[in-house]
């Protein structure tokens, strides 16, 4: 039994902001285990993790670490005790180099002068572990894409030995190969005795990696279950939870069947892209999206999907290529997002904090911004009753967890923030919708709701483009999947043509070509 | 005509640098215009390079101007110092570099000159005397013991302090009561604020003595707004163009004219004379005239 002596215990934890967020939460983390924490958006996972990592102070309850009382007053103190956390939201510092970001709090130096050779070497070593071996550690962080930034952040978290490692949705922006590499690292840490708290909405992952699993619902700990029988233990233990059971515990009710979309008869072409080139990443992209279908975009991280969508939307300059809209033979003039929106395009960006949200503003203002004219009288006076009613309707439709339409978006949980951006675009009612990682950080329940929403939108005759790093998600909801590799669109598969293998091959195919050039 | 100074000069034609206070100030601009006119009339005799600073407070800019003129190897510097002490060392440096230095408008501090062993001929008015003259004229329109207020210039400005002292001399001599003396920073707007507050606080105020005419404009506006335009008298200093009309309308009682257009010219003539004769002429006080409403 000594092998399962708890490393970290939590008893009777309580935390409220305006409303209670955590209520009487108790759980423990053992040495050398991966303890998964799941729950809906806003269930309180991040809040719990932040308390452990010293970023938030609890209102009630007690913590112990290795049997000693533990009440960190800040992140620094928690780290001194060996508790580290990789945050859900990106918290990198754009103007620093990758190496500097990783080692920020402990830059190697002599009398204050940074030892860059040592620093970069150490950084390279750590980047290797997350598969960024050929990334120059002296590159500025701001020049990296979201996926790479998340990997760098994880690398920073892994860079030091610690007793407790908290990973808050580390894989939300990662594709499968990176996830594999991350898991390899987690296995290594587990073997070394680190206790790992793993927060994620990707339940398949959790089934693969978790030793134990806890479910939070509305701030209460609903269940904690062994997912894998500890090696040295004998005797009866409750059976591991199945996916369906986890979901039921999280949501507190039965979810409908996973969507099996009846493919619509393909409609007319709504968007045709020919020979698109943009920036340093997008080299040659041609495809068409039809009304009534969901077109998925798969690809490895950095393959240029995000950049492609931004170029189509006019957010980045196009170097070459034409875009034809709604079956027109004339290329459309899409020089700016404004043009794009006027032509009925919508783009939900992958980086909600920087490119989507108005954090200090109320939810209402975030949702209604693009449709304000609709709620205004002549002269541009906003009718705020109608505005609030409409915003409230979307809170309901998307199950956004909040106090009121007037709550500041900054106070929402990550997933709920994502839904707020979603609501803004849906309210605007465009006919060609591009979603870049719309389910990043969103819980299963909400994911299903979003899938349903996508199908409904497609059913209404809209063209839906879904960019996602989660291949299973693409396989589940798309009518066709386009695969990008090294800035080129290398293949497109229909539902009856695709297999996971074929897609992976297509995703890798561009890189050989690149080196041959 | 400015381009002329840039063109290669005729051999032996002396270059005179005029270093002014703020050219944003009408008074100094008039001074400069007088100098320019003089140079045009005597274009064969010398070249003129005139510079000023942005505002009077920026003393270090003026010192740097002197240094730049030394670097330019001009033959003479005619300077209206923004600070009567701080400019002495720079001018001394110029003198040591063989440049003739003539002090105009604002006289260098005697103690500092003595201490540093420098001597520069001075051409300019006596601000204190001028202010006393204006004050004395005002006193004739007041009953003894009448409460009056002084609006000073920038507190550290020498001529401002001189004018304040002159006003005080006159008021004390005539037995008036100075109820307040505050800075209006030479500005219309600031003076307006101060005077507006003063006439409320001292409802029996009889006169406002302003250290320049711009502030007199602000004082008049404050009195007009309070409906006391006739009953409280205003005097100014400098005789700027804008104040003429006010004098005629009786809104300003008097001001002083220091003949700005001739000031710099005197200085330049001094400098040229020194270049010719290699000897320093004596200081020369230029006239200050009392200006009152023409009809009265």
């Amino acid at each position: 039994m000594t092998s399962v002596a708890p490393l970290l215990t939590v008893t009777g934890l309580g935390k409220s902001y305006a409303a209670p967020v955590l209520v009487d939460v108790s759980f423990d983390l053992r040495r050398g285990e991966v303890h998964a924490l799941v729950g809906e958006n806003g269930a309180g996972k991040t809040t719990l993790a932040r308390i452990l990592a010293g970023l938030t102070r609890p209102d009630a309850g007690a913590l112990t670490l290795r049997g000693q009382p533990y009440a960190p007053r800040g992140k620094a103190e928690a780290e001194r005790h060996g508790v580290r956390m990789v945050m859900q939201e990106l918290n990198l510092i754009g103007h620093l180099t990758v190496a500097e970001s990783i080692f920020l709090a402990r830059l190697p130096h002599r009398l204050g002068w940074i030892h860059y050779r040592r620093l970069n070497a150490a950084a390279r070593e750590i980047l290797e572990t997350v598969g960024l071996g050929d990334l120059d550690p002296a590159r500025a962080v701001k020049s990296l894409g979201v996926g790479q930034q998340q990997l760098v952040e994880i690398a920073a978290g892994l860079s030091r030995r610690c007793a407790v490692l908290i990973l808050d949705e580390p894989t939300a922006a990662l594709t499968d190969p990176e996830v594999e590499r991350l898991f390899a690292q987690i296995h290594k840490l587990r073997a070394a005795g680190t206790g790992i708290l793993y927060v994620s909405h990707r339940l398949e992952e959790i089934q693969r990696i978790a030793d134990r699993l806890s479910v939070l619902r509305d701030g209460r700990m609903i269940a904690t279950r062994e997912q894998r029988r500890p090696a040295r233990e004998t005797g009866p233990t409750p059976a591991p939870l199945s996916l369906d059971e986890i979901v039921r515990l999280m949501v507190g009710r039965e979810l409908g069947q996973a969507i099996r979309r009846e493919p619509n008869p393909p409609g007319p072409v709504a968007l045709r892209v020919r020979g698109l080139r943009s920036g340093a990443v997008v080299r040659d992209v041609s495809f068409e999206a039809r009304r009534g279908e969901i077109l998925g975009f798969a690809g490895l991280m950095g393959s240029g999907r995000t950049e492609t969508m931004r170029a189509i939307f006019g957010a980045d300059r196009r170097a070459a290529g034409d875009i034809f809209l709604h079956g027109s033979a004339e290329p459309a003039r899409l020089a700016s997002p404004r043009d794009a929106v006027r032509h009925g395009l919508a783009l939900l960006t992958e980086n909600r904090k920087e490119q989507g949200l108005f954090l200090p503003l109320p939810i209402r203002a975030n949702i209604t911004l693009m449709a304000l004219r609709r709620f205004s009288r002549r002269g541009g006076w906003v009718r705020d009753t109608r505005e609030r009613r409409e915003a409230g309707r979307w809170l309901q439709t998307l199950s956004i967890r909040c106090r009121s339409t007037e709550q500041r978006v900054a106070e929402l949980s990550g997933g709920n923030q994502q839904k707020v951006v979603l609501a803004r675009w849906l309210l605007r009612d465009c006919s060609i919708l591009i979603f870049d990682e719309p389910t990043r950080g969103i819980d299963v329940g909400a994911k299903f709701e979003i899938y349903q929403l996508l199908s409904r939108l497609a059913g209404q005759g809209k063209a839906v483009i879904l960019v996602s790093s989660d291949l299973k998600e693409l396989l589940a909801v798309c009518d066709r999947i386009a695969v990008m590799s090294a800035g080129r669109l290398t293949a497109t598969f229909r539902r009856d043509e695709w297999t996971q293998d074929k897609i992976m091959v297509a995703a890798l195919s561009g890189y050989g070509r690149e080196s041959a050039e | 005509q400015r381009q002329e100074t840039a063109a290669p000069r005729a051999a032996g034609k002396p270059r005179v640098a005029l270093v002014m206070k703020s050219l944003a100030n009408e008074f100094f601009l008039t001074m400069e215009n007088g100098a320019q006119a003089h140079q045009q009339a005597h274009a064969a005799d010398y070249d003129l390079l005139s510079n000023g600073i942005k505002d009077e407070l920026d003393v270090s800019k003026q010192i740097e101007l002197v240094e730049q003129m030394i670097a330019q190897r001009v033959d003479a510097i005619v300077i209206a110092p923004a600070d009567s002490k701080a400019l002495v060392p720079a001018c001394l440096k110029a003198q040591q570099a063989g440049i003739i230095v003539v002090n105009i408008d604002n006289q260098f501090d005697a103690a500092v000159l003595a201490q540093s062993g420098a001597k520069f001929p001075f051409v300019g008015p006596d601000n204190r005397k001028g202010a006393k003259m204006v004050g004395a004229y005002l006193a004739r329109h007041l009953k003894p013991g009448a409460p009056v207020a002084i609006i000073e210039g920038v507190p550290s400005a020498f001529n401002g302090v001189q004018r304040q002292l002159g006003f005080e001399d006159a008021m004390n001599a005539a037995g008036m009561k100075i109820v307040s003396s505050q800075s209006g920073y030479w500005e219309t707007d600031k003076a307006n604020q101060v005077v507006a507050a003063l006439i409320t606080e001292h409802p029996d105020l009889q006169a406002v003595l302003c250290a320049n005419d711009s502030m007199a404009l602000g004082a008049v506006a404050a009195l007009r707004a309070a409906g006391k335009l006739g009953s409280v008298k205003v005097v100014g200093y400098d005789n700027i163009a804008a104040v003429q009309q006010l004098l005629r309308e009786g809104k300003v009682l008097a001001t002083a004219d220091q003949h700005a257009d001739r000031l710099a010219v005197f200085g330049i003539e001094y400098a040229l004379e020194m270049l010719r004769t290699k000897s320093a002429p004596a200081d020369r006080e230029t006239p200050v005239d009392l200006v009152t409403a023409p009809a009265q």
Binding site: E354, L361, R364, L372, T405, G445 | T200, A221, Q245
Partner: protein
């Protein structure tokens, strides 16, 4: 499933009850100042004093209102003082030297303000430059222009222009009433119109606005033009008040306007601003100036006190916000 426990009486974005708490801090600070000065001088607490202050502040209110709009989009305008000088100069010269009719001259001054603002906005937006530096350039240029136009001479205009700032209701001048109206309209525009809401959004996250299909550039240029127009209006008022146009008019106005806005709780980072609070900021500064002059304080004392009050005001505001946050 959704936890949106929205009570029927949820606070409306700008409901009246909130006025109390929103402006309480400012009102208290103001009252305290008035009290101190009333106790330390004989005549300060009088209708005359307040009327005097009311008639002095219109131009400051207009400029600070414009500044508030500029600050809300996370930009800054350092050129307001100089542009005021330039507009005043153009107005004065047009009347005295070119003998334009009053309306035309006023129109000319407004046009100059709009053009300067337009330049600030266009350059800032076109090359994505910090407005700090663009308007710093304009600060120099407009002042140079003012001196060039007037040949550095104060232009005395006389009663030709007196009418604009002439007294009207209960001793309150037309400009004061205009300024009050503008504050109200400004506040409503900022909080209740599509335009105002866009501005707040631009100041909070410009990139997100752009990606939402709203072009922030014309909005920003509009704001700078608006600020320029308000400055020009202030110039007309001041010129009328002084019956003369001074090329040095407005020197240092920029910092005063910013101070007023920031004392009122406007954020320099954009996205948070209130025109009414700015108005309180202007009032605080005006009462302070007037009171210190009434007391007859020494110049250095005035500056020390002014500086301390500015800092104290924002510290007080900090606590007000803390309480506000704790409450809601």
């Amino acid at each position: 499933m959704t936890a949106s426990p929205q009570p029927a009486s949820a606070p409306r974005p700008s409901a009246w009850p909130r006025l109390l708490t929103d402006y309480l801090g400012m009102a208290l600070a103001l009252t305290a100042l008035v009290l101190v000065f009333s106790l330390s001088t004989e005549h300060f607490f009088s209708a005359t004093t307040f009327r005097t202050i009311a008639n002095q502040i219109p131009s400051a209110v207009l400029v600070a209102t414009g500044m508030t709009f500029v600050l809300v989009i996370a930009e800054i305008d350092l050129s307001v003082g100089s542009v005021l000088g330039l507009c005043s100069a153009v107005l004065g010269v047009a009347l005295t030297r070119w003998h334009w009719p009053l309306a035309l001259a006023v129109g000319g001054a407004l046009a100059v303000g709009a053009v300067c603002g337009g330049f600030n906005g266009a350059v800032t937006v076109r090359w994505r430059l910090p407005s700090f530096i663009v308007t710093l350039g304009m600060l120099e240029m407009a002042r140079g222009g003012a001196h060039a136009v007037t040949q550095s001479q104060t232009q005395y205009i006389g009663s030709a222009i007196e009418g604009i700032a002439g007294t009207s209701l209960y001793g309150l001048s037309l400009p004061f009433l205009l300024a009050m109206a503008l504050v109200l309209v400004g506040q409503l525009v900022l909080s209740r119109t599509v335009f105002g809401r866009y501005l707040v959004a631009v100041g909070t996250n410009e990139e997100a606005v752009r990606l939402s299909g709203i072009d922030p550039r014309p909005l920003k240029v509009t704001v700078f033009v608006l600020a320029g127009l308000l400055v020009a209006l202030a110039a007309v008022i001041d010129t009328s008040r002084f019956e003369s146009a001074n090329p040095n008019a407005g020197t240092g106005f920029e910092l005063q306007a910013i101070a007023a806005a920031v004392i009122g709780g406007t954020s320099l980072m954009g996205g948070r601003a209130s025109v009414i609070s700015t108005f309180f900021g202007v009032l605080i500064i005006a009462v302070l100036n007037s009171g210190l002059a009434a007391v007859g304080a020494k110049d250095e004392t005035k500056r020390l006190v002014t500086g301390a009050v500015i800092v104290a005001a924002v510290i007080v505001d900090h606590y007000r916000h803390r309480i506000g946050r704790g409450r809601g």
